[in-house]
Symmetry: C2
Subunit: 309 residues, 2 copies
């Protein structure tokens, strides 16, 4: 069950995210069923699918775009697949960095895909993107359909990232590259240090694991890519270090990205019995303290580039 | 109580580290006493002063030199003070990067200073260095004696790093810069993850705190420099990320630097009751596992440059 559409500058632009779009009737649980429930889908996406979450992802991408996308530019005419485009937070940056590339953006969530289309229509109105609604484990494209794959903040939500990469490698031509970007919540540290704050981050890691994902994936991108058959694997750490000299990151990364992300699992953490309300709120307060004067906050993303032999 | 000597190409070269040198009669505890015991000195240096430790520091500096020293080059004729040169692990790299700079290297340990002289004589035989034996909190130099300060892996051993930097700032001319490099053991993470391995790292942090230092100093360089009166503070994270694609770092950093450092506090950790022998050894074994095939290891240093207003 896959659908595909192409947006161009001449096509009707998608409306705001709240506007009904053609794929809204496709429910994610159907895909989960098709996959035999083995992979995490929309139903288990740890961060949820609220408008607030979409805003958070947009903020995150814009603040971090320079860091994450530096060095990623695909030649005009090259066939690029963004697997797991979500709400299009990275898509708009891919389009900006690689004008002329033939971009296909795929996601398992019809609602996210609709938001991605709306975002691209608003932020890159002249861009041409082929939108594909489907599961990245079962892409209908022929072998060797793409020159490059781009997979950002996707594998962390899957139970078997090497299996996903193996499936994706099928549609990548020999000699083509895959670029994978992931965070690692275990890389988080801050000043002032706080056991309560560390505990809230641990809860997020635990909830993501319970949902079948791995919030500590960044650290193992090399072995995961190797297990999927990729070669010439180069993984670079991209460490975000926030202090008083970087007010835009204090606001855009520490507060609006990281603390907001941890705070978003409050109800789930309490429901799962991982924390009391008081302990969770103390942890959040201590995390917020790291964004005040004299505080610092540090987090490492990993960006891997590897070749399909 | 300070002494000063100058080595030049024409001066008698210092012998190997075991050769008695003029300052060997100066005992570090005398300096500790002079400081009122407030600051950590040789007696409380958590890593100890063994030949093995000196070798470890040399390995560490050589492996990491490119990372840590990139961008640090002082003009010919500029007056540079390396405060806390230790066994000269960084000194030789400073000399290589800044030919023609007038380097003064100071340390509180006569024995370390002797080793530093020997190292420079062996590795940079034409270099001219003014060696100063004394406490960086009580340097005898007039105000504004230096154009630049370089302080690497020193402040982590001091009880009050801002006080040390304030004392150092006195001998730095207005407009001069300080460069500070520190690690942060709390930035450590690895694959496969292991609670036992994390515990051994925590023991090292605890022992260093018990000795009056702070193995988590890297994360707070910005506020520490601000409190010492520096301005235009720019702190950069330097993350070392080790996997199968980097065999030199697997050996030189993960095994010979980090695991060796943690292993070196085994006796102290057991004596302090922080761990059992079995638990400690399991932690070390798990740390070593991260240097085997498919393992990864990650650590963040911080490099700060700031201006004396």
């Amino acid at each position: 069950m896959t659908t595909e559409t192409t947006d161009t500058a001449a096509a009707p632009t998608a409306g705001p995210a709240s506007t009904p779009l053609p794929h809204d009737d496709l429910q994610p649980h159907a895909h989960a069923h098709e996959r035999g429930g083995e992979q995490a889908g929309e139903h288990s996406y740890v961060h949820g699918y609220s408008p607030t979450e979409a805003l958070r992802l947009g903020d995150q991408a814009d603040t971090l775009a320079e860091l994450l996308h530096a060095g990623t530019a695909y030649p005009a005419g090259s066939r690029v697949l963004e697997a797991g485009c979500g709400v299009g937070a990275q898509t708009v940056h891919l389009l900006a960095s690689s004008p002329g590339a033939e971009l296909t953006a795929a996601d398992i969530s019809a609602d996210s895909l609709a938001q991605a289309r709306a975002r691209v229509a608003a932020q890159a109105p002249g861009a041409q993107v082929t939108w594909h609604h489907g599961d990245l484990h079962e892409l209908p494209f022929p072998d060797d359909s793409f020159d490059h794959l781009f997979v950002c903040f996707v594998l962390e939500h899957l139970a078997d990232p090497s299996a996903a990469l193996t499936a994706l490698r099928r549609v990548l031509r020999p000699g083509g590259t895959v670029t994978v970007i992931e965070g690692d919540h275990g890389s988080t540290f801050f000043h002032p240090d706080s056991a309560a704050a560390r505990a809230t981050v641990d809860h997020l890691v635990r909830l993501q694991a319970d949902a079948g994902g791995d919030a500590l994936l960044g650290r193992r991108l090399h072995p995961v890519l190797a297990a999927a058959g990729f070669r010439d694997i180069a993984v670079r750490p991209l460490t975000v270090s926030v202090d008083d000299s970087r007010p835009a990151l204090v606001e855009g990364f520490t507060r609006r990205t990281f603390v907001a992300m941890v705070e978003s699992v409050r109800a789930d953490a309490l429901a799962a019995g991982l924390s009391t309300a008081a302990a969770f709120d103390r942890g959040i307060a201590d995390l917020r303290r790291t964004a005040e004067e004299g505080g610092t906050f540090h987090y490492t993303f990993f960006k891997a580039v590897a070749v399909n032999p």
